[in-house]
């Protein structure tokens, strides 16, 4: 038997067309869950197969892919998915939020605001926001059709009655364009405001549950709340211990068994970029030159950028080390951000703005007719 050969981006073209049709429908009805004939993928269900199928369906040869899990590019599953697309699509990858044309994510939205032409692909475990209130798909679809969201409001009210506040911290339900209640995937509610009016296209893929939904750019996304209990995002008492960023989402790192803790940016690219630009937190020590360590040397400085709410301004210098503008991949720039032993994320961009790219930056959808 011959060794199995796979199509560009793994999925066959028929399957990609089927997924693209679902994506187009999802874009046309923001927040509506479109059923699609999800395929088995070579990674387990529940490990990002929905996101991987969406990415595979929209990926073009000129795309630059970033994959994050928990905000980090180097968590094992993110590494694994990035490697998968390098292998089956041979595309360029990056860890830089600004350089990526497609960002596949699990559980976070990058701190740096996304720009027009970028696509954020979410991995979704349970796409149905009403699932834990009503386990039956037949019922929940009816509830969406009739815009019957009272149950959700009752749940949130009961939270307040019992606990004094809404006890949902992630996968916090949102309402899209005043119509569909949508699960934002299990991102912390901290990230919900970033979905609102985002310039990027946001696509959500749930492989096991066979659903795709979408937020076109500049879509109204409102977190559910009450007038007297307005929606609030998490706040951290301290800035990032490594880069000093405030108003960003932090990971708690256990330092010892005596209660020692430090808080560091969950978005590793944001943290590294800030440190490269000379911002350091209280625990960023001098003397470490290894690029792979976030303890990279340098002086300590006061809290840096990102102070004004969740609308974090881009880093002082663009992540591309000063070449060109932020909104497009730039010619001839390697997108290597770390000095990993292998060169897996050091793929140089052969071209600048790829020929034939539409203003939406979404080549496969455009190019479908030419196949």
């Amino acid at each position: 038997m011959n060794a199995p050969t796979y199509n560009f981006a793994y999925l066959d073209e028929q399957t990609k067309r089927m997924i693209r049709r679902a994506i187009l429908k999802a874009i046309a009805i923001p927040g509506y869950q479109v059923p699609f004939a999800s395929r088995e993928m070579p990674m387990p269900y529940g490990w990002g197969t929905g996101g991987v199928q969406v990415t595979a369906a929209i990926l073009g040869p000129d795309d630059v892919l970033k994959v994050i899990d928990q905000g980090a590019d180097d968590t094992t599953n993110a590494v694994s998915i990035r490697k998968f697309f390098q292998r089956v699509a041979g595309i360029g990858t990056t860890t830089s939020t600004g350089d990526a044309t497609i960002i596949q994510t699990r559980h976070r939205i990058p701190e740096q605001p996304l720009h027009e032409g970028q696509v954020l692909v979410y991995q979704v475990p349970i796409p149905e926001p009403l699932r834990f209130l009503e386990p039956r798909e037949t019922e929940t679809r009816k509830m969406h059709a009739l815009e019957e969201y009272g149950l959700m409001h009752v749940k949130l009210y009961e939270d307040i009655a019992r606990n004094g506040h809404i006890a949902t911290t992630y996968a916090y339900p949102v309402k899209v364009e005043g119509r569909y209640v949508m699960d934002p995937s299990p991102t912390p509610k901290f990230d919900n405001p970033k979905m609102h009016m985002s310039a990027a296209l946001q696509l959500f893929g749930a492989g096991r549950e066979k659903r795709i939904y979408a937020l076109p750019p500049h879509t109204e996304v409102v977190s559910l709340d009450f007038e007297d209990h307005p929606f609030e995002v998490q706040r951290f008492d301290k800035p990032c211990a490594l880069c000093g960023a405030e108003q960003v989402y932090l990971d708690e790192v256990v330092l010892d068994d005596r209660g020692g803790r430090m808080f560091v940016c969950s978005d590793t690219d944001h943290c590294e970029t800030r440190r490269a630009n000379g911002f350091f937190g209280e625990m960023a020590e001098g003397g470490h030159d290894a690029q792979t360590s976030p303890l990279r040397g340098g002086r300590t400085e006061g809290p840096g950028g990102g102070e004004d709410g969740t609308n974090i301004p881009p880093p002082l210098t663009p992540p591309l080390k000063g070449e060109g503008n932020l909104s497009r991949p730039v010619a001839g720039v390697g997108s290597c951000k770390t000095s990993e032993t292998s060169s897996f994320d050091c793929v140089a961009q052969a071209e600048g703005t790829p020929p034939g790219r539409t203003s939406s930056g979404h080549p496969p959808l455009k190019g479908e007719g030419s196949r």
Partner: protein, 369 residues
């Protein structure tokens, strides 16, 4: 001191190298060949073919070897490969009545056309460990016999001739049986779609559900009308030719459960059916599937839905072991971000919880105030 979690790729590569090493095990022990697996672990191969939904013994054996004998992992490997294969079309319905029988038993009749044929079964073996198998003792060949002279009628046809059992029809209005690979699952499913899902469903899950129906959860008084194992010819109708041509043979296990039914306003009293059909040899799975199929027909037959095996959303949504294992095991993936969010909430709630006791506030604030 905090050491950054970096080098995920190197860790993955090293883990996979170790996995390859452990898979091979002691190098002084000869490596398994695929033939050995296909020939001597044939029922494991059959399970991988049936739950992997791909009839290919060699690939199933390869998957078992690669998965170190973890059959669900092997099923997953086969499925992930299968999904990349081109689709040429659909075969004609196979005729299990024309099966080349290797085993055929009925619990309903002592004798019936075609007879009872035990075939290669574990039934009536005494489960005593056989130390002889530690070596490679000579094993004599099975006794060869010509096929039955008379046709081996399906029990459903025997009962059906008298009108004692319901007709073998899919009550769904669809002309096409549908394809669970090509259409998103939307409930309620037709019986054909349910049977497709059950046939590739997890043996253990169906076994437990089927067992529960015997113990009173949606009891349906089953009789093993017939179990048959053997090969059938698969035919494909090609549009160029305009007629069906055989493309190969597959081994199948078929189970017809005969279940009691009192009758309703719509139907006279008659036996009803539960049906199981599986790739390869797997009686346990085919019988469990037939019990589940019958239980899932509750609504169609006007029975009360009182137990999980009758609930198609419950059964069909959870019977796929590739989906189930993926989602259960995804809990291994990092959830730092959400856990952090919960940590923050629990800390703040604990702080609030402690407050009224310390200050012994006289009255609680009105809820949701």
């Amino acid at each position: 001191m905090y050491v950054a979690v970096k080098g995920g790729e190197a860790a993955i590569d090293n883990a996979h190298r170790l996995l390859a090493d452990r898979r091979r095990g002691d190098r002084s022990v000869p490596a398994l060949t695929l033939d050995q697996i296909a020939e001597q672990l044939a029922l494991g191969v059959d399970r991988v073919m049936s739950e992997g939904s791909l009839y290919d013994r060699r690939l199933a054996a390869l998957a078992i070897k690669q998965a170190r004998g973890d059959l669900i992992e092997a099923v997953f490997l086969v499925r992930a490969y299968r999904t990349t294969l081109p689709r040429f079309g659909y075969a004609e319905p196979v005729d299990t009545g024309a099966m080349l029988i290797e085993r055929r038993v009925s619990a309903c009749y002592k004798d019936l056309p075609g007879g009872q044929l035990l075939g290669p079964t574990f039934d009536y073996t005494h489960r005593l460990l056989d130390e002889e198998l530690d070596g490679d003792a000579e094993v004599g060949p099975g006794r060869l016999r010509m096929g039955a002279e008379e046709p081996v009628s399906r029990i459903a046809d025997i009962l059906g001739a008298e009108g004692l059992i319901e007709e073998d029809l899919d009550p769904s209005p669809l002309d096409e049986p549908g394809d669970i690979n090509q259409t998103p699952m939307e409930f309620p499913l037709s019986r054909a779609m349910r049977l497709q899902s059950l046939s590739r469903g997890d043996e253990g899950f169906l076994l437990a559900l089927g067992y529960s129906t015997q113990r009173g959860y949606a009891r349906s008084h089953p009789f093993a009308g017939e179990i048959r194992i053997g090969e059938v010819e698969v035919e494909v109708c090609s549009p160029e030719l305009g007629f069906a041509v055989p493309v190969g043979r597959v081994q199948l296990t078929e189970c017809q459960m005969v279940n009691q039914f009192k009758g309703s306003a719509k139907a006279p009293p008659q036996f009803t059916r539960g049906y199981g059909l599986i790739f390869g040899q797997s009686e346990r799975k085919a019988m469990a599937m037939a019990l589940c199929d019958r239980a899932l027909r509750a609504e169609e037959l006007g029975e009360d839905i009182v137990a999980p095996p009758q609930d198609q959303e419950f059964v069909i949504s959870h019977c796929d072991n590739v989906q189930a294992t993926g989602f259960v095991e995804h809990l291994k993936l990092p959830h730092y971000v959400d856990f952090q969010a919960e940590l923050g909430l629990v800390r703040s709630m604990r702080a609030e919880h402690a407050e009224p006791r310390d200050e012994s506030l006289p009255d609680m604030k009105e809820a949701a105030e």
